[in-house]
Subunit: 356 residues, 2 copies
């Protein structure tokens, strides 16, 4: 492993107060950067001041989108211990995404060492109020300075850090979701299982239309039959039907969420039946009609658990659990955030401590 | 229309010789740039020296891929007249792509004026050898400096110019194509009809695997049935079966190519039956078995016409026209390039002259 060079800012930035954070708007003083070049591999890991980089307009990522990213979080516990949630899971997924985009894999140990060195340096930027955290955004872009549709030979890896506010402005409230029957996010044989800009570009029109119609998010259906549930917005989705926890299986077009994985592990550990399988939107509506659809919720790094209070499919609306947060959703949220903020023992070793 | 400010380089670059051009590797001295801001609209059109721009790592296009581009060409005729092929068709498609990506539309007249002013300035960069041309790359990227999945409120439009060499190194030779049955490029309800980085990111793995197996390109099949032909590589595809010219219809997942459109117009004008319809890969193979598959070719801005000599679908290879360029493919290529280089009268008004 190469030594990480550290080049600090002359004057540290002013720390924001926890009530002024928002999401992804404020960045810390420093970032981690690494370069790749064919023949040389990943090299020059360094921590430098957060700031502008110069790119020629022909830089290939602007044209052909060969890029990937991750989204993970660090938390400050009541005892001031700083820790990252499931680091390896995220960085291993980063490498799986790299494979889908023909991007050279990273050395997970090396990048993790860089991240933790950066976190030590930026520890004062990590907020402590319940609901706040430090959002960690590793990403890789292709940087060849000429245009041609091909796998690039140069890349840059960045890790940037953003202190973020509570995801829920008004507490833990159920969202209203449109079941999308016009747009498609991803298809088997495509990039739906990778964390890559393409999937987010796909979602813009659908999200914009759903917002205009008064919904918070969209629930994506599969590209082929337009009936099997895939994911919601940029989160995975779960249904609690007649006591059973069901989430769509990872069939190639769905992102394998780390929170999704965490929820499946927890449900099984708690003795519940938790199943990954194909589930059609008809099945969800039928379960509702029979009074068996107990809870619906999304899972993701940003919100952890996002209860769904209403679904609308082809204009037909159903209310879930009387538009109230369900008991299981609440239990999951309390447990996972409890571990993250140190109020619940970390019995599954999810938290990777930062020296601080 | 706002005045276009021109800021010239101090010292012009050295012009490359026509045999050293390659594709997309050399850029001219200047570029056209314009900015967008919500509330202000597109503003500050300017021609400035080609060079680096500074972007913060949080620049949203790196993360969520809200971007579009075009690819068009200017040619130098034997009499030295410089002209652009079907400018409006390309710029109108640019605006259709903008719509699919929630990017604010451009004023086509204004951008065209900027492009032509840039071309006048860079006229010496436009090569004249048959097969060479000036590749024109307009593109728009979202530039908000913070991360959140949403439609951006700031954008930059660039037009950069690259003198390019002959597409065919060894003459006009048929290519060998793998019919892709694992990866999918686009699906109805997705972005396949837009010229956006996402579609090109989708193609990297399939192209890399096909190259490894010795094929030049892939032929994409539809996402739903995996049987209907979509497009080849980054070109549209045509079949000549029993005298009829057939190309897949624009059903939502295929790019509406300008060369595709040109070929359909020409075929009809020449009294041939030219049809846009669903065509399955089985139908192509059956036509071949009956001896009725006369020609297969791709159409695109880069190659104009790219004859297909071999198809391979699930390991089953067929040779088309004995791996020779077909008569109709050759006639199309000669006519379109003849108009582009001024040796054939421009009876359809395809060429937009640059003052030079």
């Amino acid at each position: 492993m190469t030594d990480i060079i550290v080049n600090k800012v002359d004057k540290p930035g002013v720390l924001p107060t926890d009530d002024k954070l928002g999401f992804g708007k404020i960045f810390t003083d420093h970032m981690f950067v690494m370069d790749y070049e064919t023949g040389k591999g990943w090299h020059s890991p360094r921590i430098i001041p957060y700031g502008e980089f110069a790119f020629v307009p022909a830089t290939i990522v602007f044209h052909y989108g060969q890029a990937i990213f991750e989204g993970m979080k660090a938390f400050r516990a009541a005892n001031n211990q700083i820790a990252v949630f499931r680091t390896k899971q995220y960085l291993n997924r980063f490498n799986r995404s790299a494979g889908h985009l023909c991007i050279p894999p990273i050395d997970v140990e090396e990048v993790q060492a860089g991240l933790f060195k950066l976190l030590e340096l930026e520890k004062d930027w990590i907020p402590g109020t319940l609901g706040t955290s430090l959002y960690i955004r590793p990403f890789i872009i292709s940087t060849d300075g000429y245009i041609g549709v091909k796998v690039a030979s140069t890349y840059k890896l960045f890790i940037i850090l953003s202190p973020v506010g509570a995801y829920y402005d008004n507490g833990f409230n159920p969202v209203s979701i449109k079941v999308e029957d016009k747009y498609v996010r991803a298809t088997k044989g495509g990039l739906g299982q990778a964390k890559t800009p393409a999937n987010y570009a796909m979602s813009l029109s659908a999200q914009a239309e759903a917002h205009k119609e008064g919904f918070d998010q969209v629930l994506w259906l599969d590209a082929v039959h337009r009936k099997y549930v895939e994911e919601v917005g940029t989160m995975n989705i779960f249904f609690k039907i007649n006591g059973e926890i069901i989430t769509p299986e990872l069939s190639g077009s769905i992102l394998g969420g780390i929170t999704r994985h965490t929820v499946l592990e927890l449900a099984q550990n708690w003795g519940l039946k938790a199943t990954e399988r194909q589930i059609s939107i008809e099945e969800v509506y039928e379960a509702h009609a029979k009074g068996e659809l107990e809870e619906v919720f999304g899972t993701g790094t940003a919100a952890v658990i996002s209860p769904v209070g209403e679904l609308s499919w082809k204009g037909q609306k159903i209310k879930i659990n009387n538009n109230q947060t369900g008991e299981f959703s609440k239990k999951l949220f309390d447990f996972v955030t409890g571990v993250q903020y140190g109020s619940v023992p970390d019995e599954f070793n999810w938290m990777d401590k930062v020296n601080n």
